[in-house]
């Protein structure tokens, strides 16, 4: 049996803020089993458990990025992740498609109403709508620069183009997002004086 050593809460938050990819694997290894156990106990499959884990992780990530999460008393974010995942799955099993199922809720982990879940959902939806404006080539450049924090020379080398080309692409792609954001906000696009 693999015993996982605790990850200090502040390290988790820092790693999520820095977009450290290893933290996603660590959180999966540490917290997915208990989420899977809960989902399976309530008529869910492995795939269902993975879906709610992803939703919970995304909510955690956004709230960390926007400074709305503090580690719990044990200095971990596991409790937060579990509560979000559980609420998500309970919402699913209570939905019309799952009304026939029997819900097994352990009292110890009774569902918790999280602060402003609808607000976070709305925020995620808005950010996804903005990102939807990008094609694959823009994503290739912007993901590397803003998420992976690669420098221009590394991006240029990996894409096989000159640094100046990457710089131009980055600017143009971000302008696509700017335009998309204005469309979402319903800003009049007709006045475009330079």
């Amino acid at each position: 049996m693999v015993v996982l050593s605790p990850i200090p809460g502040s390290s988790v938050l820092d790693a999520l803020r820095r977009n450290d990819p290893s933290i996603v694997r660590s959180l999966y290894a540490r917290h997915f089993p208990i989420i899977r156990q809960f989902v399976r106990k309530n008529n869910g499959t492995l795939r269902d458990a993975q879906d709610v884990f992803q939703e919970a992780m995304t909510i955690l990530w956004l709230n960390v990025k926007e400074d709305r999460v503090k580690p719990d008393a044990q200095g971990d974010v596991g409790g937060y992740l579990y509560r979000v995942a559980k609420n998500k799955w309970l919402d699913t099993v209570r939905s019309a498609a799952h009304k026939h199922m029997r819900v097994v809720v352990d009292e110890e982990h009774a569902p918790v109403v999280l602060e402003g879940p609808d607000e976070t959902e709305g925020r995620l939806q808005r950010l996804r709508s903005i990102y939807a404006a990008l094609d694959e080539r823009c994503r290739a450049v912007l993901d590397r620069f803003y998420y992976e924090r690669q420098d221009m020379a590394t991006i240029a080398a990996s894409l096989g183009v000159e640094e100046e080309s990457v710089r131009t692409m980055k600017y143009r792609c971000m302008m696509k997002l700017r335009a998309q954001r204005r469309i979402i906000d319903g800003v009049d696009e007709t006045d475009r004086s330079a």
């Binding site: 977009n19 999966y28 903005i130 080539r137 803003y146 998420y147 183009v161 971000m174 302008m175």
Partner: protein, 245 residues
């Protein structure tokens, strides 16, 4: 947020501020400007949100791939422990035999192999930072460099209708076609540019024409391409022709 277009220099200043890469003195000056300029504050907020949208998109992909990989490991672990696991080795052997049979049927011809060994896509032209005079051409070049040959080809083809005489357009449309694996479309364009002694692309066009003929198994045409004495391509052309003969 202002309705006016955001110039690249201004965009990069805001970006440096948001990423924390701005020097101390510059940051203090920028924050002073920020305090008194409502439009700039709105622009900074918008750019912060756009950056977050990019990070969310990339995070979602990372998360999806971690869950998929780890989930597969769990499924594999479950299969190893299941009662029918001993039969997996027989299934693997059947799969191996079928793969070998498919490979033998579908393996590339000698000419396709020669083409694959020698074909390297042309790197394209540099895209200048302030290219504002010919956006469509530059956008297509960016697409070409990223391997999006269909998009590059479509954009350049539109321009070629207005400028059919342009050897640059004809050459790069052919390069994009070759990149897409469409040697048939590339050949007439490369032939035209290769025969144009005044074009700076003439030698490169003959090289790609030669490779296109190799890929098409048009041995007679490939042998007739006059590049044997070329300082850049001659050695490779002679070697390939020796194999073709």
């Amino acid at each position: 947020m202002s309705k006016a277009a955001l110039r690249q220099e201004r965009f990069e200043t805001i970006e440096a501020y948001l990423l924390g890469t701005m020097g101390n003195a510059e940051r203090i000056a920028f924050e002073q400007e920020l305090a008194s300029d409502e439009d700039l504050r709105a622009e900074v907020d918008a750019q912060r949100e756009n950056t977050l949208a990019v990070e969310l998109g990339a995070f979602t992909r990372t998360l999806g791939s971690v869950v998929e990989v780890e989930g597969r490991k769990e499924e594999d672990g479950w299969m190893r422990g299941s009662s029918w696991a001993p039969y997996l080795k027989y299934a693997a052997a059947v799969a191996l035999i079928m793969s070998a049979a498919l490979w033998i049927i579908g393996r590339p011809s000698a000419n396709e192999r020669l083409f694959a060994e020698h074909y390297v896509a042309d790197p394209g032209l540099p895209v200048p930072m302030s290219a504002t005079d010919d956006h469509v051409f530059q956008d297509a070049m960016v697409a070409y460099k990223l391997g999006d040959y269909a998009e590059a080809r479509a954009k350049w083809a539109g321009l070629a209708q207005e400028r059919p005489e342009s050897d640059t357009l004809r050459f790069y449309i052919a390069c994009a076609a070759l990149g897409e694996g469409d040697a048939t479309a590339a050949v007439p364009l490369l032939k035209g540019v290769g025969d144009d002694g005044r074009s700076v692309f003439a030698r490169k066009a003959r090289w790609f024409l030669f490779l296109a003929y190799v890929e098409q198994d048009a041995v007679t045409e490939a042998l007739a391409v006059p590049l044997d004495d070329d300082a850049t391509y001659g050695e490779r052309v002679r070697a390939i022709k020796a194999e073709l003969r």
